[in-house]
């Protein structure tokens, strides 16, 4: 059980929005990483405004993953990549999704696994919850984490908090 929990960096999107949130120069001094994300995008559900992608060290290569998804009316599962869910622009105004990305042993010399648990806030039947698990088949230490919406940009007041967790 981790006994330390340190805020490494945080970010709040400004008025111009951001197509990507990019944490770089992450120190290798912790055991695990956790990112807490609150997100809303500038485009509608129909324009892929409700998914955002996660990449490590700036590359989309060597990634694989599986997901479980509840939409409010159906349950889906499949093989895809590591990703989270955001609120889209046509969902309840001024609401944001919540998500927690956990990356154990991010600085090890083995392949990296990660999990992402996220849910939309939407005052309607259609509201998604997604649990996604991913494997990055690369032995490099993770030094950067990137979040990129599948459509549009993250809007103002979207936030991301990066924590380092140590086991000693």
């Amino acid at each position: 059980m981790a006994n330390t929990y340190t805020l490494i960096a945080s970010s709040t999107v400004g008025s111009g929005g951001a197509a990507t949130i990019y944490f770089t120069s992450i120190p290798a001094t912790y055991t695990d990483l956790k990112v807490v994300v609150s997100a809303r995008t500038s485009v509608t559900v129909g324009a892929n405004g409700y998914y955002y992608d996660v990449t490590f060290n700036g590359t989309s290569a060597n990634r694989s993953g599986r997901y479980l998804e509840g939409t409010g009316s159906a349950a889906n599962s499949g093989t895809f990549t590591l990703y989270g869910v955001s609120d889209a622009s046509d969902q309840t105004a001024s609401t944001f999704s919540n998500g927690e990305l956990y990356i154990p042993n991010y600085a090890s010399a083995n392949y990296k696994s990660a999990s992402f648990d996220s849910v939309q806030e939407n005052n309607a039947t259609a509201s998604r919850a997604i649990f996604s698990a991913g494997l990055w088949s690369d032995v490099a230490a993770i030094t950067s984490v990137t979040f990129t919406p599948a459509g549009g940009s993250f809007v103002q007041y979207s936030t991301a908090y990066l924590y380092g967790i140590s086991n000693s």
Partner: protein, 71 residues
């Protein structure tokens, strides 16, 4: 032009830069992949619903009766 919000974890500095052409291309490819996954889900759900409806007709029972049997 879409921008990238960069947070340097060593310095705490936060900067905003425009995406490169390569990053924009990657974004577009990712968007297409998500769209394809979404469509695949819809096709699968429609196929399941059709198969379920066909089975109910074969059995001569309603969806409510089937749910009762399985409860």
């Amino acid at each position: 032009m879409p921008t990238k919000l960069i947070i340097n974890c060593e310095t705490g500095e936060q900067t905003e830069v425009e995406l490169t052409a390569e990053e924009i291309a990657q974004r577009e490819a990712d968007a297409k992949a998500y769209e394809a996954e979404e469509k695949a889900q819809e096709v699968e759900a429609a196929a399941k619903a059709a198969a379920k409806a066909e089975l109910l007709v074969k059995l001569g029972i309603t969806a409510e009766e089937a749910a009762l049997l399985l409860s």
